[in-house]
Amino acid sequence: MILFVKVNEMTIKSRNNYKNVIAKKMAAFMVPLLGALMGLLVGAILLIMQGVNPIVAYYALLQGSLIGWPSISETLLKASPLVLAGLAVCYSYRTGFFNIGAEGQLYMGAVGATIIGTNFAFLPSMIHIPLAIIVGALFGGILAVIPGLLRAYRGVNEIVTTILFNYVAAYFLSMLVQGPLKEPGSFYPRSLPIVESALLPKFPASPLHTGIFFVILLAGILYWLFNKTTYGFAMEVAGGNHNALHYAGVNLKKMIVQVMLVSGMIAGTAGVIEILGVHKRLIENFSVGLGYEAIAVALLANLNPLGALLSGTFFGALKTGASSMQIATGVPVSFISMIQALIILFVIAFTVFPRILIRINKRRMRKNA
């Protein structure tokens, strides 16, 4: 958090300094780009250590994820929940709060979507799908608002509580699909199928569903909110300095609760589109680890919603291309996690790089003095 506190302070100080703004914008592009490149580069070294030609491996990765409609649609399909969860993390992190609970909120969203989606078959799609999205979002929001309230009124660290709720949500979902929501007579722990009118329509000749439009729309709305509204500016100020808001007359406690609620709602919709578009019924553990990948997405996007579209697609492409890479070179799919981790490390290392230089410089000046 400290990291962005500093960066944001600098942004505000330099509002009038045109040159600095341009430098900041450049950095916002360069840091993720360099981070991703370095991640892939070190990944290449790890590939060579396994005795695999990295060019062959990366070509297979590219071909399996971005060349041809089947690959592209698969990538976009995998990217959709990643982007949504990433947006949820962006939303809270811009205000200086960490939501690591995207996974739990996503599960709750899935539960909400299933309750609406397996009933009300008489509704037209135009009403049924939005209803499922709203209810799913509310379910996700409820799970996130509790950590928000605890943080605002009891000072409890939201990192701890959102992690705890991930487990509560996963076990709650598991309890539902083996109990009240279980398909009668089925051997598997799963719910009834989602009824026709609540299913997201598909693109031709691909598994990709129209939830992708919702993802793009939401990213656009958030971009507008963050950059063009007073509320978005207040969020940014809060991210920089929690006391500043107090003087500006904004109630920080209220803002924490609001921010966590909305962040949870966004994560909830990720669960909704997975159920209505991909799995078509509620199952257990359908997104293990997505909450953590969301943090990678948000970071690589530099907390910019439009950037999240790109970084989410990038990570989605890595996930999709991984199986082609495995077929072509025998490198296990799990190798992708290592590249992902390296990228996160490089990105945060590059973000503080200028600050480290300043510190080293200071120390040198003190020695010379």
Binding site: I100, G155, V156, I159, V168, S174, M175, P332, S334
Partner: protein
């Protein structure tokens, strides 16, 4: 209800609960030391996973569980060094570094495991630690023999560590330094305590405990490895710290509670009681959250998760 009580109040059940609690107890007792020094160590999940894997791999290739343990400790130590360098020396965000390291460990262990396995689909097993052999007349002591004397060496290490850590924390200068660094590093620094050194050492100690926890997870009992074997153990250890209010004895209570819940859950899955087995495993988490709501932020070290820069204001 009667059936339920009949399950819980047997010596065998309590002994099993202690077995499940062992990795958790080891990890969280180590964790409490470095959390008190002001470093948030969510990487413990990755440490447990990697050490579980390297303990298995080490034991599989050398045939000796002790060398497995050594490999596990080294792997865990290495992760701790990276985490410490990033979070203590560079002052990077501790949550993000941990997320990255955990992801890396998951990728690394699964990838190496695939490479070792080749195309073999059979389950491979390594040599593991067996129960400590006590003299026969001791194990035949009714209840206690069943609970305490049919355990692996790690359980005894964990039980001893409870008192060792409590003693270090509250009876030695080291303990005072660790707590001071976690509360107010600048004051500690002024008094001549080397903040970085204390934080590094606390972290390395914690990683050794996590290494043992990982070893206890993979090569005591079934002696095999599966992808993402730790499955959140590190985060549960983290929860026990919070539950135990950053006090070694409280943490012990937390770890035993989670171990008990785990063991109850497994038992309920195979019996035909009409309570969903998810309830006992969910309860400790909910209890921790409720407790946090009641006690608020009181017990958290004041400089938790805040990097310290000696030459900045």
């Amino acid at each position: 209800m009667h059936d339920f009580l009949a399950i819980v109040f047997t010596a065998e059940f309590v002994g099993n609960a202690l077995k499940y609690a062992t990795p958790l107890l080891l990890a969280s007792l180590g964790l409490v030391v470095n959390e008190r020094s002001g470093v948030m160590n969510l990487s413990v999940e990755g440490m447990i996973l990697s050490s579980a894997f390297f303990a298995f791999a080490g034991s599989y290739f050398t045939g000796s569980p002790l060398l497995g343990l050594l490999a596990a400790l080294l792997a865990s130590l290495l992760i701790a060094l990276v985490h410490s360098y990033c979070c203590i020396s560079l002052g990077l965000n501790q949550v993000i570094v941990a997320v990255a390291l955990n992801t890396f460990c998951l990728g690394l262990t699964s990838t190496l495991f695939r490479i070792f396995l080749g195309t073999d689909t059979n389950v491979i097993r390594a040599n593991g630690f067996s129960f400590v052999r006590w003299p026969k007349f001791l194990t035949e002591i009714p209840v206690l023999g069943e609970i305490l004397l049919k355990q692996h060496i790690f359980t005894y290490v964990a039980l001893i560590m409870i008192f060792v850590i409590w003693w270090i924390f509250y009876k030695t200068t080291w303990g005072l330094e660790i707590r001071a660094v976690g509360e107010y590093p600048r004051a500690a620094d002024t008094m001549g305590v080397k903040v970085y050194k204390v934080r590094y050492l606390a972290m390395l100690f914690s990683s050794l405990m996590a290494g043992m926890a990982g070893t206890a997870l993979s090569i005591t009992g079934l002696n095999l490895f599966i992808d993402n074997m730790s499955a959140g153990y590190g985060f549960i250890a983290f929860a026990t710290i919070v539950f135990g209010r950053f006090h070694p004895l409280g943490v012990t209570g937390g770890a035993l509670m989670f171990g008990f819940a785990q063991s109850l859950q497994i038992r309920m899955q195979i019996s035909d009681i009409n309570i969903p087995y998810q309830i006992p495993i969910m309860l400790p988490y909910l209890l921790t959250i409720v407790m946090l709501g009641i006690i608020g932020s009181g017990s958290v070290p004041a400089s938790w998760c805040i990097p310290y820069f000696p030459d900045e204001e």
